[in-house]
Amino acid sequence: MDTFPQRLKQAYENQPELTILTLLHAGQEDCPISYRQLVEGAAGYAATYQRLGIQPGEVVILILEHGQDLIFAFWGAVLHGAIPAIMPFLTEKLLPERYRADLAALIAVTQPSAIVTYPEFESEIRPALKMDDSVRHVILSTEVEGALIPDFSTLAGFERHPEDVVLLQHSSGTTGLQKGVALSHQAVFRQLENLSKAIGQSQEDVIVSWLPLYHDMGLIAGFLMPILSGNHLVLMSPFDWIRAPYRLMQAVTRYQGTLSWLPNFAYYFCAQKVRDRQLEGVDLSSWRAVINCSEPVREDGHQAFLEKFSVYGLRSDALATSYAMAENVFAVTQGGIGSPLVIDEIDREALQVERVARPAQAGAVFLRMVSCGRAVPNVTVRIVDPQNNTLADRIVGEVAVRSNCMLSGYYHRPDATAEVMIDGGWYLTGDYGYLVDGELYITGRKKDLIIVGGKNVYPQDLEKVAMEVEGVHPGRVTAFGVFDEQKGTEDVVIVAEVDSIDAGLREAIAEQIRKAVTRGTAVALRNVYLVGAGWMIKTSSGKNARLANREKYLKESGDNQ
């Protein structure tokens, strides 16, 4: 199969009654969807795009929540040859104006011809649109043609080529939304083939996921992979999961789930927040791999997860890891499938001071590093120095990736693409790590990105919002992540320069910053640290030196991680 529409057609003709997807909604009956229903529901959307004059190759932004409409709107765009991009839905705590600013940023770069949403959400979106922008239609889910039998000979998606862009994948926030990863049919299929070998995928696999589809892990592993491969996908809403993590275990039990992908924090979250009374009848013995991906992997989270759930049938050999990124479609490495996870005990000081991952001697302070596994087939990893020279095993440097499944580019951003691609087709990931006999270990990050609960957060977005608070020096705010050992993910800290030395006023400013950041970016802050003028460290070119500011904060504030 060369393109997504061809694959859907094949499934529609050969396995129409196979339940390919079951949608779960808390408090409602589970909703099974067969390939026939999937394709016919998508065909209704494709007919709507066609009727409204959306052209193949144009981008359609989907602003829909977990549910049938999101699924049909996505595959409908594919059948029509349009390029779907899923945007996170507005949560109640985020200010609508901020959300619209993000949407406007997305529209400016992506130039979509249409936005699909619910009627009740139209009024939130309209004010973000401008007379002269590219959006010709706001398509409401209620105006869309119902399910219909597709005429494959007239669907424009069948004229798309394997090298054409099939979808866009964005990170969140204003910054992330301006850099959409464009992926071709061919790149996705190649990644799925590589991944399939690495995880030993079989027709019996059942994927259970709560991951949002606007995130690469959710979109690829928890959506495209099962649907394109013919594996049953049991999909729950991230909103339901975060309120009731036990529902994941119940779903695995009910549907005999075999594979799930989770960000590191979820291991802690499940271990800490699920009560035994919620696990009556739960049997996790079908779970053959629970793959830790998209955040730095911590062994203690794995141990806590295992301790909590092994009495419910979780096997210790189900623990697995992966290092992945949207720019490579998804998986770069895979570990823990068919063999146990590799742990590397290294000398902490050598890592921090010499940037060498030296095996720890007896008595030395050590770190237990969990391997992300080995490169999946057709993907090569090397570690490079700042001049892009390859480094030897155990020397820490930037992780560079080359594969047969790279992004086509950042959509409409050749400048951003050029920044991360180096000679020979290597992609510079912005992550630091080291290799030992082909096993990859991630040690840190070169880029300023913060990862909170698996979600990418750009510090610039937080700083911009905080600077607008009265009493804060514009340009003198810094945001960074501090690892929270108990949660297994990063917390966000903001340091802001203020003039006031009045304690009451300072407290009020700190509270305003918290509110502004929560309402402006949907991120809850661990700490707001107010300092006097001149505190912040800047680089020689006058930019915010976030890592140095982070070090200074940790030393000075007593926030001992």
């Binding site: 808390a26 949560t91 705590k93 309120r243 009731a244 927040k273 009560r275 609960g453 809850a524």
Partner: protein, 81 residues
């Protein structure tokens, strides 16, 4: 409204959920719709209520429509005790 429950909840939420023990939460302040209680902490809130008052709040009730203030939460707790 049960002022005692409101006061207890205010203290517990500030200390254990927000990790800002000095944060004053008023009885009519929006907790969920304002984002004060992060979605990651909603499950903690339900576990806290279960432990302290023996009252179960279903996960489908962890939203601003069911309760959004300490006042409303205290009423909910009282009605189920």
């Amino acid at each position: 409204m049960n002022q005692e429950i409101v006061n207890q909840l205010a203290g517990r939420i500030a200390k254990d959920l927000l990790k800002q023990p000095n944060r004053v939460i008023t009885a009519d302040e929006a907790l969920i719709s304002s984002g004060l209680i992060d979605s990651f902490s909603l499950v903690d809130l339900s576990l806290m209520v279960e432990d302290d008052y023996g009252v179960q709040i279903d996960d489908t009730e962890l939203n601003a429509e069911t309760f959004d203030t300490l006042e409303q939460l205290a009423d909910l707790i009282e009605s189920r005790q």
